[in-house]
Amino acid sequence: MSRVLFAFAMLLAFGVMKLPAEHALSLQHRSASGGQSDDIANLDLREKIGQLGFVAALSGFRAMLADFLFIQAHAAWERTEWGRVLFLFRQVTTLQPHVPLFWDMAAWHMAWNASAAAMNDPSQPRLALRVKAQREYFALGKDFLERGVKNNPDKPQLHEALARLYRDKYNDHARASEYFAKASALPGAASYDKRFSAYELSYCEGREREAYECLHGLYAKSEKERLPTLIKRLKFLEEKLNVPPEQRIPDKER
């Protein structure tokens, strides 16, 4: 028995030795995974996922729990229970803040699906209220993406999704352009991000020159970029900026 006690004393001594290294390691671990919201023990999470989920999350079941909730959210979407979809996605993204897919899906369900459903809600006869509900869903989608971007600043996918949201739901071309541009600067970005950013810029009053330079640069860069939309936008800008004819692009491609 005394040997067991001695062994525990040994473990305690080892514990004192390992403590600084272990602490430093977990700080490094945290900063590697992108920081702040990773503190899984935070109160916010506990509130959101309940006691049982909290324990599960703390014992290596975190990813699985998130997937389980995600699947539930998927089912709720199929039944068009929007409140539940929102509730579940909040849990999913809190559990797995570093999976862009979840942020993306959450925002898409809110800003595209739920908002459309709200707009076509037959139980709400007043248009003003339907529009209001729709705007609220847009805002929820935007909120998901903004937090997603904050947690995953190096993932082009989320910047791109945010740009699309600004473009399609808010008609905010400046913001859309900004986020497409941000996405295009990140590793792994789609090749069209840069072009889309320029397209959006071309719709912004007062920034035509900027947009023109951008588009022209792309046009000059390679044959591949000379898509119909690009040529159309470029011509539109040439017109608007009164570009001298000799500098304009040829009318007929090829």
Partner: protein, 295 residues
Amino acid sequence: MSERLHRGFSPARIFAISINTLIELTRQKVFYVLLLFALLLIGCSVFMARFTFQQEFQILKDISLGAMSIFSALLAIVGTARLIPQDIDDRTVYTILAKPIPRFEYLLGKLFGVLLLLAISIALMSALFVVVLYVRERTVLNETLRQMSRAPGEQLDAAVNAIRAAGLNIDILTGVAVIYLKACLLAALTLFVSTFATTNIFTVVVMVFVYFIGHLQATAREYWLEEQSAGWVARTFLAIVALIFPDLQAFNLVDEIVAGVAIPLVLLAKTALLGIFYTAIYTLAATFVFYGKEL
């Protein structure tokens, strides 16, 4: 003359015990766990039909790696808990230790047997997982290529890249290595507990407890180090948790890796070192207690 040979440390002897332990463990039908894993994977793949491939791959990876982590921990705990008590109950330990074998060689042999089993099981699970994911990736890729055969090259490239990014990724294997280290640590700790436990149930219960507390250890440690306001009872409790329990959360790199977070090599190396260190210390403690044990 032969005396010097006997006195020394003998890897061959340890190996003989390890292999024997491995056979013993496989006879205990531990490989049913692997079957369960296979079923889980297949069930998962069937069920996933209604999701997009990104969602499917994400869930497939999460479930596979999560199951690997839990099953290997379970194997480590349940497999190790019975080893020594069983040998003592059956009196096989008498025949072994009545031979000129130092007790630490016996313990090391047993532990290595478990570690071997864990390595084999994790390798099999990984292989299965990689094959399933690879097959799914190929299928999705082929389907996409067929469907998009008339789409512009740029779109096709983007689609293929998206599938590749969501699919198999070599970094996952480093995550698996860390899962193995965690299982090794748990096996060594179980060995230690089993040297003084009175029943196997006790060992398993203690280890399940350790498993949960171990995942909370980092939190307890932080509170202890940073929260000066807590009362001394709470602080003592937190200190004991932080000092005695292993930080199992440190070995959960897999979540991050699946999410695509690049884990720096230095961090990986340090985590590995921590795992090896814990395993060694627990083995040492087990040996120490076992040397004083009446058989």
